[in-house]
Assembly symmetry: C2
Homo-oligomer: 421 residues x 2
């Protein structure tokens, strides 16, 4: 029986969720464990309760919304994404996967279907790194890539810890977040493309075969301050000028990489003391560097580090270089992609295989179980900005395809070699 | 009769004032109209009241502490400096002039002297530009360089105005801050050098003949944001990379200037959205550029502006360039310098003529009346940093010289061509 997600309801929920924001519309800002993030979580759980779905939270604030299966002992099929948003972001990144996932669960139930396996929607804690400087916090801990001790050591800009900030319904030791490999049978995430390819080629659906390998670094430049009027140029050790040179090296290393998919970004720049008449003495720079080609990425990062050292030596500025994370790429499960492609054909949606250059919770879920991603087009490839946009048609197609694929995965027979219950 | 400032009392007050700080010692942070700035003002007025000196405030929060003269109708001789401090600054910049000035007034009174003219100590509002992005706010308004309408239009980073933030005892229209040219007879400011020259040459006192010409600019770079993983390098319009190039141009323009005294600094850098996985789309850069040679400064600024335009055109980033202020240099009064030199000789202090590369309230007081400055050495020329330091001996010499010079100026006969009462 065909599944019919209620698209007006879903669009209405997307727009209601967008209103829960620390910045005025169309900007969306929901930083982990801020008042807005907590309000969005509460709102999401109320929507799930309204739909009669069971909910729970784990110790790091990952939320789980479950549609029961006819064989409750079996490992669930899961979908999910995130509702947190960086400052001045848009209404679709992450939220389409969460609310589209919720709508898929409702559509399956409203079609009178009872899947064999439970289907679980996960709202992952802090896919965005804004608060703690590390992305995919929830899924990273679920996969055990970040352990409880590492998570406990995290501090935000105000020196506060995860355990201090997590809401009251997230209890228990952080150790309990990590899952066994057999917890989930399959995982599939719906997301906006965050790139221009689907829109440019007029393709309805992207089926993600590979997720690019991200690495992130935190650089501290310690120079020598002083009065902007009084210290002659030849006597300066300006931490910001060193950082400015390094940011330009990051760009050059990405541009000159042999891989076409190399991107390097210096998105966090904090300059102290930050007064117009004072020479910068302390600068924080955070670099995000990604590639589908791990070797090309590592070579570019080596170059950046080498040139940064040379620049700082020349300027008499001290450089502290720390790796925030450096993850290998993920390969998506060919069988899930094949199933999704057949469903897309049946629904009359055009589709293409692609890679994801952006970072997703799927990267870590892929370490726990066979995983894949469904992309839908978004306007001009924009995301992480207020004018981020996906059309109602694109959202409808993605959600319908997700619903069918989840149901099919939940009804798959147990594979002979991987007993999961 | 020789004047004998109480140096232990003065040093004790300097250290007590340093404790009123938003950052822990040895850092000193007192931003205009912050809790700490208000506490420091209250503390200073209490010290003046203890000494039996009359106090008052004007509409912008300049504080006046007066030692009466025997002929109260005459225009006062004035001294003064500031107690506000940029974030993470030190204990001596400005405060030596204010507390040294207070000690000078007490020393004159305690020596049993009654000067002919009143002597007035001024604590100027916001010599530092931290809150409103413009330095010497109090003295600038006293001189009429910044009018009441301009002052009313100022907003801090949170959008608050001067009138909203000024304390309760600062009342009246901002128009009332501007003084007539005949308000003061003479002005002389005591200050740490903020440069290495006096220490390096073992000289006790610097007598400032000229104050360098400062100019300040606010640059806004508007680029195109997006996800750090998803937008390819060739499609980017990164506002921060444009700003980084411009900061390096500022350095180059200063280094390659024909004048030896050119300095250029990019001290304020704010990058938005400020997330590690987001391409910077909006950057604020503030540039401070100074010279003793006005023509060399203007030529360098033209070059920076030209190259900034070229950089932003090439990167597809919009540049908005605004002048915050651009002041001509001040020349100090030769007669005051001559008098101070004679007093230094009599006291056995070595002295030299010098220029001030830093910005001071004296720059604006020089527009109201004959003005000069006394510099004392500070360690390595450091200022605007927590390890800023002037020795007790240097502070004692500067204060003693200030006291004698103030008293002599207050007792000068009225010049025949400038009746001032």
């Amino acid at each position: 029986m065909p599944l019919a997600p209620d698209i007006p309801r879903l669009l209405d929920e997307l727009s209601k969720l967008a209103e829960i924001s620390a910045h005025p519309a169309p900007a969306v800002t929901r930083v982990l464990f801020s008042a807005e993030d907590l309000a969005a979580r509460k709102w999401l759980l109320a929507r799930a309760a309204e739909a009669g779905l069971a909910t729970r939270a784990d110790a790091v604030g990952n939320l789980f919304i479950t549609l029961p299966g006819s064989e409750p002992g079996l490992a669930p099929v899961a979908t999910g994404s995130h509702t947190d948003a960086i400052p001045n972001a848009g209404a679709y990144d992450g939220t389409v996967g969460v609310l589209g996932g919720l709508e898929a669960l409702r559509a399956i139930r409203e079609a009178g279907e009872t899947p064999r396996r439970p289907i679980e929607l996960v709202m992952f804690t802090a896919e965005e790194p804004t608060r703690f400087g590390i992305g995919c916090l929830g899924s990273r801990m679920m996969a055990g890539t970040l352990g409880a001790d590492g998570a406990r050591a995290l501090r935000d800009a105000d020196g506060r810890s995860l355990e201090e900030l997590r809401p009251g319904d997230c209890t228990g030791p952080l150790e309990s977040v990590q899952l066994r490999d057999s917890t989930y049978f399959r995982f599939i995430e719906l997301h906006i493309e965050q790139g221009p390819e689907l829109e440019a080629t007029g393709t309805d659906i992207g089926l993600v075969g590979k997720i690019a390998a991200p690495a992130a670094f935190r650089l501290r430049f310690s120079g020598s301050g002083g009065h902007a009027g009084a210290v002659l140029m030849s006597e300066r050790h300006d931490a910001f000028l060193a950082a400015a040179e390094v940011a330009l090296v990051v760009e050059r290393a990405a541009l000159e990489s042999p891989s076409n998919d190399t991107v390097g970004t210096t998105g966090v720049v904090e300059v102290k003391p930050g007064a117009i008449n004072s020479i910068p003495c302390d600068v924080l720079l955070e670099i995000d560097f990604r590639d589908t080609d791990l070797a090309a990425r590592e070579e570019a990062i080596d170059r950046i580090r080498r040139e940064a050292t040379r620049i700082c030596d020349r300027r008499g500025v001290r450089l502290d270089w720390a790796c925030i994370n450096s993850d290998p790429p993920a390969t998506c499960d060919p069988a899930i992609l094949e199933l999704a492609a057949r469903n897309a054909d049946a629904l009359g949606y055009s589709h293409t295989r692609m890679i994801s250059r952006a970072y997703h919770d799927s990267l870590f879920m892929a370490r726990l179980c066979p995983t894949a991603m469904i992309f839908i087009p978004c306007r001009k490839g924009w995301s992480h900005r207020p004018d981020e946009y996906a059309s109602p048609e694109a959202i409808a197609r993605g959600t319908t395809l997700l619903a069918h694929t989840l149901l099919d995965l939940a009804n798959l027979p147990d594979p002979p070699d991987t007993p999961d219950a």
